[in-house]
């Protein structure tokens, strides 16, 4: 079972590479738009890179408006991973 720490590490790794971010920007409370600087186009591309990273579909049920902070994103991926592992 993938741990939350592993989810955070993989997510940060993907975001850093795709959006040229630093570790300092990737704190859980960071606002994806205001602090990390991602816009609506980035939000779409973020799904593409995270799907590749985690090998599962994120876009179904993905609602960018409900994911405001980085922590929201970790929670979203963790829930999907748990569902995925449970065969849902």
């Amino acid at each position: 079972m993938i741990t939350r720490e592993e989810i955070i590490r993989l997510t940060n790794e993907a975001l850093k590479k795709e959006f040229e971010l630093t570790d300092e920007q990737l704190v859980p409370t960071a606002h994806l738009q205001n602090d990390v600087g991602l816009d609506s186009l980035d939000a779409v591309d973020m799904v593409v890179v995270l799907e590749q990273k985690f090998g599962m579909t994120l876009r179904q049920g993905y609602d960018i408006r409900s994911i405001v902070t980085l922590n929201d994103l970790y929670n979203f991926i963790e829930k999907l991973a748990r569902d995925h592992e449970a065969g849902k």
Binding site: F19, E20, G37, D39, L41, D42, V44, D45, V48, V49, E51, Q52, T57, R59
Partner: protein, 406 residues
């Protein structure tokens, strides 16, 4: 009678196989430096006869803000660099309000297209990013550079294959001349992909007999030529009314005195001498000058057998045998959609230096070409008026008249 304004060039920017900037371009051309090389992808294709190309040296574009860069293909990055240089050379740190932007390319980014196509064919559409799509729109370089540099006047992209660069200069000239805009950025951009060489090879239009010595490969008008060498880059000009330029104290580099365009409808790939003659004559008429006023014809001449012959026949018909003719494809290769505007930059410099460049690799003129006076060595001479030609597959022809600024 309404007097239309004089249109002048006040800025230039370039990315070419000689590097980023107008200075390396001019240094390369005026020193006759070679920039062609063999292409490993072509060497791996036995059916493709040509093995050489000229490409822009590897460059670091990380200085372009990520949000702007994410949607830029390689040719858009060339255009960004050239546009910034052009604005700075015209005396601007940022784009002036209402600046028009006229720029296109022959194709969009083939490398990005192939990547997206591969994902589609392999049923992996989920791998396609928004930024991929934004890189393969036909007007992607125009759109991304106008966004990045806040160019907020009309942005229009003529796409006329090899005539693209000059056609956009011509369209911008008309837009300034008729008052649509008072200032415009204009030209063409292109990125090389081996598919360019392969496609021209299929059409029997590439250079293939000097693969071992790439810098000898492109030889316009020479008896040993077999075709063109594909290349890449971006050339842009800043143009405006003379009144505007003088009012803001800008340095006037040259005047655009006339422009004309027509279309060959008899053959998709080969322009007839007659249609080319009509195009050049229409440009002279537009400028209100006669053939004897012209000091130099900077030919399109890509080094193909038929194209070079047709252009000399047209030149001879318009100007007679004494017209001095040169082509820059021997130096630069065929930079495709960028060729017209990159070569116009060189023409502006020839007017400024009062020195005309030779046609590189032209040692023995092909007897099938009509008599013209080929420039085979650099010459210092009075140069006041240059005709610049660009002709495209598809039949799109254009001629621009450049005049020295006194």
């Amino acid at each position: 009678m309404i007097l239309s304004p004089k249109v002048v060039i006040t800025g230039m920017g370039a990315v070419s196989p000689y590097g980023a900037g107008v200075a390396p371009l001019l240094n390369g051309l005026f020193t006759g430096k070679g920039c062609m090389h063999t292409v490993p992808e072509l060497e791996a294709l036995p059916m493709v006869k040509t093995k050489v190309a000229a490409t822009v040296p590897e460059m670091d574009f990380s200085y372009i803000p990520r949000r702007d860069r994410r949607s830029m293909s390689r040719m858009a990055k060339y255009a960004y660099a050239a546009a910034r240089e052009t604005l700075q050379s015209a005396g601007y740190e940022t784009a002036p309000q209402g600046l028009g932007f006229f720029m296109g390319s022959t194709l969009n980014s083939i490398s990005v297209w192939l990547e997206v196509s591969k994902n589609c064919i392999e049923n992996h559409l989920e791998l396609v990013k928004t930024s991929d799509f934004l890189q393969i729109m036909n007007h992607s370089p125009l759109a991304t550079v106008s966004q990045a540099l806040k160019i907020n006047g009309p942005c229009v992209g003529a796409s006329d294959a090899c005539a693209t660069g000059l056609m956009n200069v011509g369209m911008a000239y008309l837009a300034v001349k008729t008052g649509l805009v008072s200032q415009a950025l204009c030209g063409g951009t292109e990125e090389y992909h081996p598919m360019f060489s392969a496609c021209f090879d299929i059409m029997q239009a590439t250079s293939h007999n000097f693969n071992q010595t790439p810098n000898d490969a492109c030889r316009p008008f020479d008896k040993d030529r077999t075709g063109l060498v594909c290349s890449e880059g971006c050339g842009l000009l800043f143009i405006e009314t003379e009144e505007n330029a003088k009012a803001r104290g800008a340095t006037i580099l040259a005047e655009i005195a006339g422009f004309a365009s027509n279309t060959e409808t008899e053959n998709m790939a080969y322009p007839s001498a007659e249609t080319l003659r009509q195009c050049m004559e229409a440009a002279l008429k537009n400028a209100g000058i006669s053939p004897t006023d012209v000091d130099l014809l900077n030919a399109h001449a890509t080094g193909t057998i038929i194209g070079d012959i047709a252009e000399t026949q047209a030149a001879n018909a318009v100007f007679g045998h004494s017209i001095k003719v040169n082509s820059l494809k021997g130096h630069l290769g065929h930079t495709m959609g960028a060729s017209g505007s990159l070569e116009t930059i060189a023409c502006v410099e020839m007017l400024r230096r009062q020195e005309i460049l030779p046609t590189q690799n032209l040692h023995t003129p092909d007897e099938r070409c009509a008599p013209v006076t080929h420039v085979t060595t650099a010459q210092k001479m009075p140069v006041n008026t240059i005709v610049k030609n660009s002709f495209a597959i598809g039949g799109n022809n254009c001629s621009l008249i450049l005049r020295r600024s006194l």
